[in-house]
Amino acid sequence: MININLYRAIGETDFAENKDIGEKIRVSKIMPELSKGNELILDFEKIDRATQSFIHSLISDPVRKYGDKALDLIIFKNCNDNVKSMINIVLGYLQDAMDNKEA
């Protein structure tokens, strides 16, 4: 299982906002692991805050493409309450959108 250390990936800043980097992480690391059915860890250690855009850039495509399976395979590690809330908001609207599409 790979562990993606986001603090290092975004240039050792505690504010995760650069969605272009988020996109690179998604394309180069997250999607290839999910396509193989592998679990992966998104490690938010030392990240104090994340913008909605950053979280969206990381997980919207996986959820859209793999649905619930993506959430079985992605493990969110070391998230503080702020980051957890943001992840839940993004997952909430993504799943709503998928429900609406299916309805």
């Binding site: 240039g11 800043t13 504010f15 906002e17 650069n18 969605k19 272009d20 996109e23 998604r26 860890i41 104090d48 805050r49 913008t51 909605q52 855009s53 969206h56 850039s57 919207s60 495509d61 859209r64 619930d68 959430l71 079985d72 992605i74 493990i75 969110f76 590690k77 998230c79 309450d81 702020n82 957890k84 809330s85 943001m86 992840i87 839940n88 908001i89 993004v90 997952l91 909430g92 609207y93 993504l94 799943q95 709503d96 959108a97 998928m98 429900d99 609406n100 599409k101 309805a103």
Partner: protein
Amino acid sequence: MHPIVLSMIAALGIDLDPKNIHIEKLEARSSHYLVRMGLFRILQLETETSIQEHAPEGRFIPLKQVKTSDELAEFISEMIPLLHSDSEQSKTIGYIISELGRNVLEHSLSESGAILCAQYYKKSNTIRIGMADTGIGIKRAINVSHAAPTDLEAIRLALWPGITGTTNKPGGTAKNAGAGLFFIKAIANLNKDFFVLYSGSSFYKLLVNKGKKLKLNADPFDDRHSTLDNLPYWQGTLVGVDLSLNQTREYEVLLAAIRDTYYRLRKTKTAHKKARFI
């Protein structure tokens, strides 16, 4: 002078040959202010006004042009200590500038990028932020995927959560969810702050939420607001936000209110699959 006006002036002049820019004689006080805020520097104009440069910490962020994602990231990391506000407020400001700046870089198609500045006002204990671009404007950006016949309708859609110019599919694209401006309006609304958006010939102003109850609306026209139409045309978009440092709500409270707004928008109430946190 509100930073939105300074950003506007800089955005108008930044692509011009400095030889073609003429600034009328200014009062010494105004001149000092404009020099300090970097207007002459960004427009590459000479000035007779000399000022003793002080470190800007705690007072202002001079005019800055941001054209790339990396420049924006670098600017945000350098900017936060400049405002000298407490950690919570600095982070809120960083959040606003990040989302606004990335909106410009992605949607405005402006070759000049985003022009922004900010200033701290001691009397009101407020930080005022202004950002301008001379790109395609909100109406053209939104109309790629939605029908907005007027600038005002386009502004309304741009502030609506889940609506992005990049797609008409629910949930947005891999890169965009149409939530950035909604989050900023939410921050302003909950903190009882000033927020304005001007694009094309229309202007939207969020008025101070006088109620005590924390409630966000998806439709910006359901918020206490005012609008103006048929204004002098601004090719691009202008955004102004005032953040009162006296009453900045806790971030967690803000996120809870945003979560609640999305919940109220749900058409189905099926249970969501939960994230795996460890």
